[in-house]
Structure formats: structure tokens, C-alpha cells
């Protein structure tokens, strides 16, 4: 095996893993809290991506673009949670189906608004330039994505283990009824986690455009990858999301390097192994 290709694919895999962690971490927490899986997550990614990249082109500011993408998705997520999901609270399947329908509507609306042509991220030259990583040169922005994901992981870890909110979320994930009986407002907590998850999906849509260009159908691919991440890692677990993202990122990077025709199909292998030997996922708990 060519060593250079190996490093390149590894770094690509790490970049994808970083993106997947940013997307899947909120999704898995929201699921752990209220057993609600947001299947519009991919559509929020696409929504944040299109609007954020548009903003970036207009304002010429990357930070503003990423924030806009995140905020647009956050507004979408909060509206969906308040106006629709509230009405069928507790009916987990109805909630999931509603999010699918909303995702479909958003994706179709984006096709009308932005057309079908793929859009890539217009980056300032200093971020596009490669950076010397010791083993090889790699685009600075992708290194930045990895750093962001690690920082996000650390923030999540501190919030979850060191703050009252984090303790409340952990309690809610472990045992919703008891947590509520202790006076923790789990529905409110859930609304908060849901909003953060939507923000992260939208922000990831902007950053991720440097890795996969925005196009119709990307929403479903992103959703599928995020689901594979939390199925492998275990639903409701942040540690699981990190490990699941690493596995998923590496497998799809190496598969598209050596067998591009099976790039996404190859995810079938790790997922099946997990389902056969540990159906609750690596860090999931049986309920």
C-alpha cells in the first residue's frame, strides 16, 4: 500500500469523522432524552448549508456564514418541535414520521430555492492553503474542522460532567420518570438539547461543504451516515457518537479510496457486526 495514500485517506476519514461527530452528538442526546429521533436532521444540515454558504458569499465572512447556517437550522428545529412534535408528544413513531415529512418538505423547498447544481464552499485562500502536518501537507480548513470537533467534544464533556445542566441531562437519559419526579423539567431540557442539535446540524452544513459539496440528495446521505454513527455507538451516548463517527468516517474514507463503487455500502459491515454482537450499540444500554 502506498504510504502517502494511506495518510491521505486516514486524514480524510478523520475529517469526515469530525463532521459526523458534530452532526450526530446532538441527535444522539435528543434521542436519549425523549426517545425522539429527528429524521429531518439531514434536511437541517442542507438548509443550514445552503443559507450559510449564501450568507458567506454575500458577507465574505466565514464566521458569519457558519453562525447563520446554525441559527437558521436552530429556528427550523425549534419551530418544528414547538408547533408539531408537541402535538404528538409521547407517540415516538408519530414524532419520527413527522420529522421525516418535514425533512422531505424542506429538501424539496431547497431544490426550488437553490436549484440542483452542486455548490462548494468559497474559502479564503489562507484557509484553502495546505498545512504541513509532518507526514504530509493537508488543507488548513480540514485541520480546523478536526480541531473544532475535538473542542466540541471537550465542551460537551465538561458540560455533561461538571455542570448542573449536564447532570440533569444525564439523569434524564438514564431514567426519565425518576428525573421528572425529582423536579427536573425534562421536556424543557429536551427542547434545549433539540435546539443545540439543530444548530450543530446547520453549522455542520456550512463547514461540511468544504468536504462534500451541497446538492439535492445530500440530506438523506448525511442522515443515513448520522444514523449509522448512533447505531454503532449506541443511542444516547456521547462517547458512542465519537467512536461511531470514527468508525464510520474511516470505513467510508478507505472504501471510497479503494473501492469507490461500494463506498457507502461498506458501512453495512461494521453496522451488521454491531447489530449481531451488541444490538444496543458499543456504549448503549439495553432498555
Amino acid at each position: 500500500m502506498n504510504l502517502h495514500t494511506f495518510y491521505f485517506l486516514t486524514l480524510n476519514g478523520l475529517t469526515l469523522a469530525a463532521l459526523l461527530f458534530i452532526m450526530a452528538s446532538g441527535l444522539t442526546l435528543a434521542f436519549g432524552l425523549m426517545r425522539v429521533v429527528n429524521l429531518a436532521h439531514g434536511a437541517f444540515y442542507l438548509l443550514g448549508g445552503y443559507v450559510g454558504v449564501h450568507m458567506l458569499q454575500v458577507s465574505d465572512s466565514l464566521v458569519l456564514g457558519v453562525l447563520t447556517g446554525g441559527v437558521v437550522a436552530l429556528v427550523g428545529g425549534v419551530l418544528m418541535e414547538r408547533l408539531l412534535l408537541q402535538r404528538v408528544r409521547g407517540l415516538d413513531l408519530s414524532e419520527a414520521l413527522l420529522t421525516i415529512a418535514i425533512g422531505l418538505i424542506i429538501a424539496d423547498a431547497l431544490l426550488v430555492a437553490y436549484g440542483g447544481r452542486p455548490i462548494s464552499l468559497p474559502l479564503p485562500p489562507e484557509l484553502r492553503a495546505p498545512m504541513d502536518l509532518g507526514v504530509m501537507m493537508y488543507p488548513t480548513f480540514r485541520v480546523l474542522i478536526m480541531v473544532t470537533a475535538v473542542a466540541l467534544g471537550i465542551v460537551f464533556w465538561i458540560v455533561m460532567t461538571r455542570t448542573r445542566v449536564g447532570a440533569a441531562i444525564r439523569a434524564g437519559v438514564d431514567d426519565r420518570e425518576t428525573a421528572m419526579a425529582q423536579g427536573i423539567n425534562v421536556p424543557l431540557l429536551f427542547a434545549g438539547v433539540f435546539a443545540v442539535a439543530s444548530f450543530l446540524a446547520g453549522a455542520a452544513g456550512v463547514i461540511g461543504t468544504s468536504y462534500m459539496s451541497l446538492s439535492p440528495g445530500l440530506d438523506v446521505r448525511v442522515l443515513m451516515l448520522s444514523l449509522v454513527v448512533i447505531i454503532i455507538g449506541g443511542m444516547g451516548s456521547l462517547k458512542g457518537a465519537a467512536v461511531g463517527a470514527l468508525v464510520t468516517g474511516m470505513v467510508s474514507s478507505f472504501a471510497s479510496g479503494y473501492l469507490p463503487q461500494f463506498a457507502l455500502f461498506f458501512l453495512f459491515l461494521p453496522m451488521s457486526l454491531i447489530l449481531v454482537f451488541r444490538p444496543q450499540g458499543l456504549f448503549g444500554r439495553t432498555t
Binding site: R35, V88, L97, I100, A101, D108, L227, I230, Q261
Partner: protein, 316 residues
């Protein structure tokens, strides 16, 4: 019982008369509606009996479609051999998927079937050498045999109507059999069924394979009806379309999926004259169904609605 027999006879008579009075386009739309009725039935077997909402039933239809396209058109195998093989291979995939999903419940099952279905979808457009990628494989047609052109819309209609009615009646019997009741029991209370000594996992697994077999038969008709096999039928959009048909019609009843598919195909045909945004319409229909009539058209409380209307008009 007697009323039921009359309804079935009336329905069969209607299906027999329809191609004599309808135009070519209407008959071809009816073909499509029957195919989607079968797919919605395949979905409803799992959703109505087990509470298992699957997003990969269209995948099984797609697999049998691709087998026919690849072996029949690319390798020129005879149609008579390719069709049973297509159903067999599709069911083979269902066995693997069934083993992977049999322990999952409710939302996890939904997520799993979405992921599995989308993996096959990705394979269908990435494996360009074999599947033709997004362009697909064109030129799929049923041959003429004994002087009958099986590719003709009305001949296809006759075969499709026979198979559809047959499968619906068979599933109706299954619903009322002991096995059907066991499935309902598992949905109600899995632990109790297990405690009573019923093979819960086996029952669920067989239901999954049975549902996939129905979908693969629908896929055979779908590929000959379309004449081309492309990744589109395996997309999430199609899976949601089928799900919406079943939810709209009511997946708990036997005739709900057929009703839902008929209404949805009519709606789609009507909407297509004005706009390309039919996926938005499907999404809106799904949202409204879940919020306003979660049990679908076939179990909507029409009587109480009429009752209320009468009372309010009498008092007003």
C-alpha cells in the same frame, strides 16, 4: 360475512369492467396504483400487525427490479427464469435484513431500515458498471408469448389485478389466522406472548420475510411497468410515499393500504398537471394525516362526524 363477500365481488367486478371503459392513460395509472397498493400492503403487514414501521420495503421491490434488469437485459436471460430468481434474491436480502432487525423495536427499527435501505440505494447508483448508475438500465419489456403481447398496458393490468386481489385475499386470511393473532399479541405485549411459550422472534422474522416477498412481487411489476430500472425507486422519497399511502389509508385494516395508494396516486396525477413539487404535497399529506387522523381514512370516525353535523344543524 355475507356483506364482506358482496363487497369483494363488487370490487372484482369493478376491476374487470374498468379497462373496458377507461382510456390507456387511466389504465396505466391504475397499474401504478395497484403496484403501490401492494407496496403499501407490504408496509402495513409490519406496521399494523407488529408496530414495525419499515423504510426499506421499496428496497426489496428495487432489488427484484434490478435483478430483472441486470440478468434479463444485460445478460439476456429468459424472462421466465429471471422473474422467480428476482423474487428469490430479494427474499434472500430480506432474510439477512430480518436477522439484523428482528431485535429492534419501534424507532430503532425505523432508523435501521432507513440506514439499510439507503445503503442499497447508495450501491445502486455508485456501482455504475453493473447498475448503470443514475442513468439506469433501459429497455425492460415483457415479451410476446403465444400471440399475446405481455408488455401491453391492458395485459399487464389483467395480470396485476389478478395478483393484487390474490395477495390481498391471502393476507386477509393470514390476518385472521392464529399466526395473525399472534403478531397482534406481540405488538400488544411481547413479554406475555413469550411467557406463553410463543416463538416471538421467529414470528416477527417470518412476518418480515413475508412482507418483503409481497414487495418483491410488486417490484417485478414495477420494473416492467416503468420499462427502465434506475435508483429512483429505492430512494427515501419512494419509501416515504409508500409509508404515506399506508398511513393515509389506514395500515391497521386490510383494505386501507389499497385505498391510500389509490387516493395518493390520484392526488399525484392531479398535482403533476400544475407543479413538479409533488414530494412537498406528499410531505404535507403525511403531516396532516398524523396530526388529524392517525388511524387513516379506513378507520376515520365518519359516523360520529355525520352525527355531530346532524345534531348541530338540527339545533342551529
Amino acid at each position: 360475512m355475507k356483506r364482506e363477500a358482496w363487497i369483494i365481488l363488487l370490487l372484482i367486478a369493478g376491476l374487470a369492467v374498468w379497462p373496458l371503459i377507461a382510456g390507456d392513460y387511466a389504465v396505466s395509472r391504475t397499474n401504478r396504483a395497484m403496484i403501490y397498493a401492494l407496496l403499501a400492503l407490504s408496509f402495513s403487514v409490519l406496521a399494523g400487525r407488529l408496530g414495525w414501521f419499515s423504510l426499506c420495503q421499496t428496497t426489496f421491490a428495487g432489488i427484484s427490479g434490478y435483478v430483472i434488469a441486470i440478468l434479463g437485459v444485460r445478460y439476456g436471460w429468459p424472462t421466465g427464469a429471471v422473474i422467480p430468481l428476482a423474487i428469490l434474491i430479494s427474499v434472500g436480502f430480506a432474510v439477512v435484513f430480518g436477522l439484523l432487525t428482528v431485535r429492534a423495536r419501534r424507532v430503532s427499527f425505523l432508523m435501521l431500515t432507513l440506514a439499510l435501505g439507503q445503503m442499497i440505494y447508495a450501491l445502486s447508483f455508485q456501482w455504475v458498471d453493473v447498475t448503470g448508475g443514475y442513468n439506469g438500465i433501459p429497455g425492460i419489456r415483457l415479451p410476446s408469448f403465444l400471440g399475446i403481447d405481455f408488455g401491453d398496458t391492458r395485459v399487464l393490468y389483467a395480470m396485476l389485478a389478478t395478483v393484487t386481489v390474490g395477495i390481498f385475499m391471502a393476507v386477509h386470511r393470514v390476518y385472521r389466522s392464529q399466526y395473525g393473532l399472534l403478531l397482534l399479541g406481540i405488538q400488544e405485549n411481547e413479554e406475555r406472548m413469550r411467557a406463553l411459550g410463543h416463538p416471538v422472534h421467529l414470528a416477527r422474522f417470518t412476518a418480515f420475510v413475508m412482507a418483503a416477498a409481497i414487495a418483491s412481487v410488486a417490484g417485478v411489476f414495477l420494473v416492467f411497468d416503468m420499462g427502465i430500472m434506475s435508483p429512483a425507486p429505492l430512494s427515501l422519497n419512494q419509501a416515504v410515499l409508500v409509508l404515506t399511502a399506508a398511513v393515509l389509508g389506514g395500515y391497521r385494516t386490510i383494505w386501507g393500504p389499497a385505498l391510500g395508494a389509490a387516493v395518493l396516486i390520484m392526488l399525484q396525477t392531479g398535482v403533476a398537471q400544475y407543479t413538479d413539487r409533488h414530494m412537498m404535497v406528499i410531505g404535507a399529506v403525511l403531516v396532516l394525516c398524523i396530526l388529524l387522523m392517525p388511524r387513516g381514512l379506513s378507520e376515520f370516525p365518519w359516523k360520529s362526524l355525520v352525527h355531530r353535523f346532524r345534531r348541530s344543524s338540527a339545533s342551529g
